[in-house]
Amino acid sequence: METLGAYAILLAFCLSIYAFAASLAGKLKHKPFLIVSGERAVYGVWVLLTTAAGILVYSLLTSDFRLAYVAARSNRAMPLVYKFAAWWGGQEGSLLLWSWLLSTFAAVVVFTNRRKHRDMMPYVISVLAFTQIFFCILNAFVEPPFQVLAVGKGVQAVADGNGLNPLLQYWLMAIHPPALYLGYVGFIVPFAFAFASLVTKQPGEAWIATTRRWTLITWGFQSIGVMLGQGWAYAVLGWGGYWGWDPVENASLLPWITATAFLHSVMMQEKKGMMKVWNMVLISSTFFLCIFGTFLTRSGIVSSVHAFAQSSLGTWFLGYLAIAVGVTTFFILKRLDYLKSEAHLESVLSRESSFLFNNLILLASCFAVLWGTLFPVITEAIMGEKITVGAPFFNKVNIPIGLALLLLTGVGPLIAWRRSSWESLKRAFRWPTVVAVLTIAILAGFGVTHLYALVSFGLCAFVIATIAMEFFKGARAISVKNQMNMLFAAFELTHRNTRRYGGYLVHMGIVIMFIGYTGAAFNKDTTKEVTIGDRFDIGRYSLQVKQVTDGDNPNYSWQKAQIGIFVGGEYLGELMPERRVYGSSGQPTSEVAIRRRLNEDLYLNFASMSQTDANKAIIQAYVFPLVSWIWIGFYVLMFGTLVCLIPSKVKYSYAKTAVVGVYAKQTETAK
């Protein structure tokens, strides 16, 4: 079995090389049958990698402990779900997942474009196949998943495996890596089309239109991946945070930032034919950052609490990136003429300018995060001394950036294209500004003095007001015209232009998430050594440690603290934070208990029993205001993304009105 898996990977490697060579040669020598055979090869690669992945999963599910990978990641007592999730629980399996997803996407792209974009497809396939070759090299030669355990010369199975890292035995973590990988891998498709359009000098923006759905879906998966990571950190890691600016977290955020910038700036290209070079650069950087993110997490170049493996992967990744960046840069420079902008910026107060600043700020954030993440590497190279920066650096730069973006979220969509007058701005923003000022005044009246929090809540109110006004204005027009009630009218409105109103919903989700993040300004925490039966206070809560119980099951042994919650004498129920020690790995984990409410979460962690007094438990208690809104905002964001994907009822052609205008003006002056 495992031999078959290993051979499947090797064959996939050879076939990818063929797909790459055949597509390129077929295009350059004008041999259509070669191109078609290249496309067939893409399907072949998918079949082979599916076989390999299937064998790995089968071995995991059947606990085939002759395999080193299975023995290190799985054990008999683990629930079936985690046995499956062990596929991506380690280095070799993760890379196989990457490779398999890539082959799947490639097959889908080839299939859906079997009659479209014939001139671009050979180049699209070569980009996909080239990347596939790279990952197959990793699968086949650098991190092979099908190694067998051996003593002396015979293959030998161990009685039981080590089990999946207990921290990963949590449902969010079981789906976090695939979601993030879908987001990472997916960006190769828009990149491949962008590249192909660059090489073949496509007229118009075919690549943007074709890949718009891909980009959005991929962006959605990346958002899911990033958010699941946050939810997991919050519920499992036990320090109560959702974001620690760890290199691995940053790695997942970087491509998300550039992708967000790209989603905005393509609108400029579709509508006005501007920022063509910029969009090329953005989509390329997004894809490269995806590869770079995999490299960061997989190579162990920056030390991280995630304790990823040290390995020789790094050189391979750098090699691939060097080639890919080199070739892309070469073609962008070579095609500069073809990427000329069709219009110019006319005013600082315009939609164009708001897009421009949105991009500038997003990119600044991306750069700051990248810089901070690589700081140890950079300082070691330049000064010979490893220096690292922590969360204060990231927060200091990114909080103002976040607030500025929030402001633009409100301003951008309402400002006119080309140029806006102060009068129209006043009309559009009078009420939102009033709402924002009122919010700040009320909060300040209630004794909130945290500056950033005040600004943030004010801006959130501002943006919510602008979005609400947009929906209201549009819906009222429809309801008056069609005699509909406002709710139906709002649906109708959204359906007519899903892209615009879905976008507003995404913005709304972001704003709600910001409300949740801002809550962090008011976090409370305490660590207490409590005798069983005693109480201690945090915020308005009074907590009583009632008793500590223990027991075990085949997978782990546990110890639970039963803690009663009181507020002002009223009993609100109890929470049971837990400590586990996993049998096969001997690794302890804490299972926090969280009382989730819309206004605040009460979060308890059972650190351990006191070492000096057997009757005392060490309890860490936290109060996190508003944190639930982060997850709620995320659902809104996902909903908005889905709305964007629904085709609009009315086809809005993104005719380049402004360009026609400029042209008309020129002909007028020519007369």
Binding site: F65, A68, A71, A72, R73, G90, Q91, S94, Q147, V148, L149, A150, V151, V158, A159, G161, N165, P166, L168, G238, G240, S303, V305, A307, F308, A309, S311, L345, S347, V348, S353, F357, L360, A364, A368, W371, F375, P376, K386, I387, V389, G390, P392, F393, N395, K396, V397, P400, I401, D525, T527, E529, S584, Q587, P588, T589, S590, Q611, T612, Q620
Partner: protein, 149 residues
Amino acid sequence: MKTYLRFGVLVVAIVGTLAWLAASGINESKTYYKTISEVKEMQSAVMGKRIRVTGDVLPGSIKREGEHVHFKIHEKERNLQLDVVYIGKDPLPDTFRDNAQAMADGKMLQDGSFHASAIAAKCPSKYEAAPGKQPAAQPLNAAKPAATS
């Protein structure tokens, strides 16, 4: 041209502000990586700077005292030890235990002990290399131990 000038001014202002914030953020939170021997050798030089020391947790040295945790990390090659007091608020990572490779963030005190405000830990490597309880089994076609993730 006037429009572009305005844009230029705005862009420079934004980038400048962010660069200034970044620079001050770096100064506030920069942390030097040091080995135990480096810390021991240049006590005075590292005093007051934020540093990050890495070493293996000495088995049996982890002691909780109220909210603080005392432990020792050591550098095997040169047989050096460092006393660490963890004074941070966050719970210690689950991977932090005897023989684990620990990374302590904090400052040196005059008495030669190290006050850590944050601890990160990696599992001891023997856990990675020995699946089950039969340490004799090794990967057949490569000598490298399977890694944790």
